[in-house]
């Protein structure tokens, strides 16, 4: 038992001295995830409906982040918003990365006609300007639900991932250990999933982080111009209402800054985590 603890502490201290990015990223993200997913169970959720409390109250022990112009407790709103935003990011990221990775692997490993078809489709999607299309679609679909939005965002993120995964697969295909696998009798499917895929996992992880932040950023963008879904609280929506009710003009910093800081923190945290993980997986970058 003692040996396990020793190993654990030496690994942690090694991480600290070696991989500041990873540690910093985790230090930022873990509290935020905690707030978002565990927070609603730990902290009392009160005053989420309009006019629950007097409005425009500054922060106090009773209302950690004060109240907004519609009389809601902002701390509660923040907690729920973090969760919702993270969920959008996670769902969009997962769907997009899964589709992108699968198509990228097939294209890179199979080659030939299959590769050409997938590549053409990918290129078409890449050429389409994402943002204008998102705006148009959101405006057209009157009721945009959260799951619909997440799916839409996923559709825009998979091409970039497919392209990246494809080139990784192409280069990995030529490696000596793949040749050895063929000589050992592994068939094509096994080579793709057992030899190539594990080696692109770190890369896919990075891409997942990026597509997650991309999706969240797109959602915030839509919300701010009023096109996003208004059924659930997200950080973007929170910012929207703050702007709508002129929070800045009224010097209500407790309304506008917390969501912005949370968003920035999530993005920075994911980037740091990516950098840290990359360094972990890439032995050449170590030391």
């Amino acid at each position: 038992m003692r040996i396990a603890i020793q190993k654990y502490t030496s690994a942690i201290s090694f991480l600290f001295s070696e991989n500041l990015n990873l540690v910093a990223g985790l230090c930022i993200l873990i509290p935020i995830f905690f707030l978002g997913f565990i927070g609603p169970y730990v902290f009392p959720l009160k005053g989420i409906e309009f006019a629950s409390y007097p409005r425009d109250l500054p922060p106090s022990p009773k209302h950690l982040l004060g109240t907004d112009t519609t009389g809601r407790d902002l701390f509660t709103v923040l907690l729920l918003s973090i969760r919702q935003s993270l969920l959008i990011g996670l769902i969009a990221g997962t769907i997009g990365t899964t589709i992108g990775t699968a198509l990228g692997l097939i294209a890179g490993c199979k080659g030939g006609i299959v590769d050409s078809i997938i590549r053409s489709v990918t290129d078409v999607f890449l050429i389409i300007p994402t943002w204008p299309l998102l705006v148009i679609l959101s405006a057209y679909l009157e009721r945009l639900t959260i799951p619909a939005l997440a799916t839409l965002l996923a559709v825009f993120s998979w091409p970039g991932i497919a392209r990246g995964v494809r080139s990784q697969a192409l280069s990995l295909r030529e490696r000596a250990f793949v040749k050895l696998a063929k000589l050992s009798g592994e068939n094509s499917l096994e080579i793709v999933f057992k030899e190539i895929f594990p080696n692109i996992l770190p890369y896919v992880g990075t891409l997942f982080g990026l597509s997650m932040t991309g999706a969240m950023l797109a959602e915030v963008g839509l919300e701010i111009i009023g096109l996003g879904p208004s059924e659930a609280n997200t950080l973007g929506l929170m910012i929207y209402w703050a702007i709508y009710y002129n929070a800045l003009v009224k010097r209500m910093w407790w309304w506008i800054f917390p969501p912005v800081i949370c968003l920035v923190a999530i993005f920075v945290g994911i980037q740091l985590l990516n950098a840290g993980l990359d360094r972990l997986y890439n032995p050449r970058l170590r030391r």
Partner: protein, 325 residues
């Protein structure tokens, strides 16, 4: 009707498309045979760009020739049934050059032994797997605790190559294509690896297609030699016959240029070797001898006509106009 030879490489040629148009012939009409009665070591010797590795890949069935055939037990490997191809795969294995690249960094090295056992059904029960692995490691002179359960980056180059030999032992192929197996290994380990490989030849009758740039090692290890220059077989035959009486100008210069670990036998005079062409690779539309632009003994005929192989000894063939009647 059993085939006369175990493996036949017939007029193997491989042409690649060069960047920016044009094409380049990596391998140009290479043929050799590995008999079935007794094990034979054939060395493919050449410098980089000679096409020796490409030839090896074609023999292994990992690269399709542009023309020419590879026949195992008399059958073209691209025309085999699934069962026949499986037999071919099992019996023609490889040891590659770079011990650091052959292992998938994601897995422990044990996997390299376990996968072939499973795929080629070498063990009849789960418990047998363990004992087969142990025996192979022992024969390759590797201590099990040194290598089992470890990741590739935890082992040295020499250990990784030995493990490759253990893997070959497990599978017990009839032919091993060894592509520069010791060039990335320290000198002190080379002898051991080569001697283990020779022992496998004696004890299990395994033949080798030994690919190397090092003539001295080829001399130590092989029975027959094929000297390749830019894809072409310039001189071949029994290794002692060829090396004691080298005829092709390229081979002669090659032998002279090997540094000898003895200061009393230093190179005497500067070798006169024409500067190589400034562009790294020209598209191969040369009609004459492939060595024409660098040959110190070049004649006019060499620039227009390809020399045909000529028998100059009991088992000694050279392709050079100097020796064509």
């Amino acid at each position: 009707m059993t085939a006369e030879f175990l493996l036949e490489a017939d007029h193997l040629t491989k042409v690649f498309k060069a960047r920016g148009g044009g094409y380049f012939k990596a391998v140009d009409d290479i043929s050799f045979r590995i008999p079935r009665e007794k094990p034979l070591v054939i060395s493919l010797v050449g410098e980089s760009g000679s096409g020796k590795t490409t030839t090896g890949l074609m023999v292994l069935g990992l690269l399709k020739p542009t023309s020419g055939t590879v026949k195992y037990e008399g059958k073209d490997i691209y025309k085999m049934s699934k069962k026949e191809f499986w037999e071919f795969r099992k019996n023609v294995q490889a040891i590659f050059q770079d011990p650091f690249e052959v292992y998938n960094p994601f897995y422990k090295v044990d996997r390299v032994l376990e996968v072939p056992i499973r795929k080629f059904k070498i063990a009849s029960s789960k418990s047998e797997v363990r004992s087969i692995i142990m025996r192979a490691l022992e024969e390759a002179e590797l201590a099990p605790e040194e290598v089992l359960g470890k990741y590739p980056h935890q082992l040295s180059g020499g250990q990784k190559q030995r493990l490759m030999i253990a893997r070959a032992l497990l599978i017990r192929p009839k032919i091993i294509v060894a592509d520069e197996p010791v060039s990335m290994v320290d000198a002190s380990m080379r002898a051991d690896l080569l001697n283990v490989m020779l022992r496998l030849k004696r004890e299990y009758g395994i033949s080798y297609l030994f690919i190397t740039h090092d003539l001295s090692i080829a001399d130590y290890f092989s029975d027959e030699i094929i000297v390749m220059y830019r894809g072409v077989n310039v001189e071949s035959g029994n290794i002692h016959e060829v090396l004691s009486n080298p005829l092709h100008p390229y081979l002669k210069i090659l032998i002279e240029s090997i540094p000898i670990p003895d200061p009393r036998r230093r190179w005497k005079k500067r070798i006169e070797l024409k500067i190589e062409s400034l562009t790294k690779r020209e598209t191969s539309s040369l009609r004459g001898c492939i060595f024409y632009d660098r040959c110190p003994s070049a004649m006019t005929i060499c620039s227009t006509k390809r020399p045909e192989p000529v028998k100059v000894g009991k088992n000694h063939i050279v392709s050079c106009h100097i020796y064509s009647q």
